[in-house]
Amino acid sequence: MTMRTLVASAAIAGLSLAAAGCVDSRSHAQAVYMLVDSSGTYAREAGKAELVVNYLLGTLRPGDSFAVARVENRSFSEKDIIAKAMFDTRPSQANAQKRAFRDKTGAFLKTVQGTAHTDITGGLIQGAEFLNETGAGKKTIIIFSDMQEDLDKVTVRDFPIRLDNIRVIAVNVTKLNADNIDPRRYLGRLEAWQKRVNAAGASEWKVINDIERLDGIFANS
């Protein structure tokens, strides 16, 4: 066997091994479900929500999935999804989809109307369903809310929920008047949500209040 044949055989064997053994079948796509609180006075924060949506659109890559839904009286419904898209794997098509997505969410957020109640839990369940259906490798729920759940008398949400392998990030959790009087209310509220989310099997719980630090959303993803 000559040296050249040996080198060629080694190269072919290496390439075959690389092709056969090293193919990564895991999904590298990301899926993000963003809940936008539209209840009461928080509806005034819609402008900031648009900033978050735009940031996410600029950060997500071709092949990723993104959905924006509102939190209202009862949020466990597909009707509450304002816009959703699974971006094309081709960058040019994905960019076009992102432009359409931005227009759609922008139109909604400019005309958002406040609702009487806030069903964050319903939104979380709906978001988990959406994310699991995408089959993405990394799943994230972003809650743009003050995290003050306010249900009507007939809505039932006091049961355990499942958020397995989903990161939950609360963004722009504003302080209510009552929180200003007694900050323990605010801290207790966040702690209660953290416990609930962790109990639901979420992989991470994070709070980002500074809109200028949105890069923390994907910091550990």
């Binding site: 090293c22 990564d24 590298h28 796509a29 600029g58 081709r90 960058p91 040019s92 992102k98 931005r102």
Partner: protein, 486 residues
């Protein structure tokens, strides 16, 4: 402490206990001296023997490898030297054919010119006619004394006048003859120049042939040295291989830089073709692998072009193809290379468009004002990228040449390094083997130091019994020789 006390014969008197215990130990050790010495020597030989054996085997392997490397190197050198001699002979043949083809004409021309020059020379050699015989008569008349006679004087004047007119005629004739010779000589000039030029040409041809013959001689000398398998030839070839390896490696590194730039140009736009979300490994996208494959295919096409042109000789089958097939192969490879270069150029344009689109999207998302158009200045990078995308595949095609040198010299360099490695390993094993053997001897002596008192007693007993001076302690080497395995 309790454990130590257990060993004490007199727990209250540690010194005495230790002394007695030491004496008992000495006696026991003295009794076990011979088997212990044997054990130590056997252990050292058991350890040192295989190490030395391994070292010897490795030295043998290194020698075999060196011989094989030498054989391969000399065969390679002989082949290359033979090819060079062949090329020199081809060149010499061409030179001889070209020059000898013209030699009959040149010779005829030279002969004609020489004949003409000879004829002209002969013409030049013709002397003017000598003065007539009556010159002597005139001289005799001139001697006649006039004596003052008028008749005689008149006759002399007439003779003088006649002579002067004849002299003028003869002088004119003489001058005319010389003028003719000068004109003939003047006519020589072009022939002399032509002769000179022809002779210079002949001289140059001879000089070229001499140089080529000298080059052939030098190559033949090298070939003879290689054929004689001399160490000098091996050393020269090895040094040459190392130099070639370094140069080829350097050029390959530069080519790798070019390939990297090429990769960067087409990796992003390839995601438009194969998608941006497929991964081969955790961090390696399919689009990146596709871009890499395109670059490798381009390099392969370049390699085939070089092989078909017989610039490189990595594939003997291509080199052995007939000329028609080779020409076809050149055109096919070149066509594919051209197509790939065109695709790359298009991909480079697409890359620019994708980046611009992404920038526009990000600006619109950030609600920033759209950038001012840069006009034709903004198109320069795009054109540069397209040009680069088109040129780089052709530039990469030339990697085949250093690649061949790299592979060929790599065999020699790798072989030499491997021989050195094996030799170093053998040397290390040999050292460890020697250390193990010497350690056995040191242990034997150390053992005797521990039982020095019984050995002194033994010497005393021997001296008393023999009545002479006490012999040295029993030699330890006596048994060592019997135990030594080799």
């Amino acid at each position: 402490m309790m454990d130590l006390r257990m060993w004490m014969i007199w727990p209250d008197n540690a010194a005495l206990s230790i002394l007695v215990l030491s004496l008992i130990a000495m006696v026991v050790l003295y009794a076990a001296r011979a088997p212990m010495h044997g054990l130590m020597r056997s252990a050292s030989h058991a350890l040192g023997g295989p190490l030395r054996l391994g070292a010897r085997w490795l030295f043998g392997v290194a020698g075999e490898m060196k011989a094989r490397n030498k054989a391969v190197l000399l065969a390679q050198g002989r082949r290359e030297s033979g090819q060079r001699i062949e090329r020199e002979f081809e060149r010499l043949g061409l030179l001889v054919t070209r020059d000898l083809q013209g030699y009959p004409t040149l010779q005829r021309k030279l002969l004609e010119e020489i004949t003409r020059v000879e004829e002209d020379y002969k013409k030049c050699g013709e002397v003017p006619p000598p003065p007539p015989d009556w010159v002597d008569a005139v001289a005799a008349v001139a001697k006649i004394k006039t004596g003052g006679g008028e008749v005689v004087q008149k006759i002399l004047v007439d003779i003088r006048q006649s002579l002067e007119s004849i002299h003028d005629k003869a002088l004119a004739e003489y001058r005319r003859a010389y003028q003719m010779r000068h004109s003939i000589l003047e006519g020589f000039m072009p022939y002399w120049r032509s002769l000179d030029k022809t002779m210079k040409q002949v001289d140059k041809n001879m000089s070229d042939m001499h140089d080529t013959a000298a080059a052939v001689d030098a190559q033949m000398a090298t070939y003879k040295e290689i054929a004689a398998r001399s160490d000098e030839a091996e050393s020269t070839l090895t040094n040459s291989a190392f130099t070639q390896f370094a140069i080829a490696g350097l050029v390959m590194a530069v080519a790798l830089g070019g390939a990297f730039v090429n990769f960067k140009l087409i990796a992003l736009p390839m995601s438009e073709m194969v998608g941006a979300s497929d991964y081969i490994t955790a961090s390696l996208r399919t689009s990146e692998v596709a871009a890499l494959v395109i670059i490798l295919v381009e390099a392969s096409m370049g390699l085939f072009v070089m092989e078909s042109l017989r610039i490189t000789h990595l594939f003997p089958r291509i080199a052995n193809l007939n000329d028609r097939m080779r020409r076809r192969m050149v055109w096919i490879s070149l066509g594919l290379l051209l197509t790939l270069a065109g695709i790359e150029s298009a991909l480079a344009l697409m890359r620019d468009m994708l980046i611009a689109d992404k920038q526009a999207l990000l600006q619109s998302l950030a609600a920033a004002p759209a950038p001012v158009s840069e006009g034709w200045l903004g198109r320069i990078p795009t054109a540069g990228q397209m040009l680069l995308g088109f040129i780089l595949p052709f530039a990469l095609a030339f990697v085949a040449v250093p690649l061949e040198s790299f592979i060929h010299s790599g065999r020699t360099v790798g072989g030499a390094l491997l021989v050195n490695l094996v030799s170093a390993l053998a040397f290390a094993l040999r050292i460890f083997g020697s250390i193990a053997r010497q350690a056995g001897r040191v242990l034997v002596h150390a053992y005797d130091v521990l039982i020095v008192l019984p050995l002194l007693v033994e010497q005393l007993v021997h001296s008393v019994r023999s009545g002479g001076p006490a012999p040295e302690a029993r030699p330890v080497d006596a048994t060592e020789k019997t135990l030594r395995p080799y």
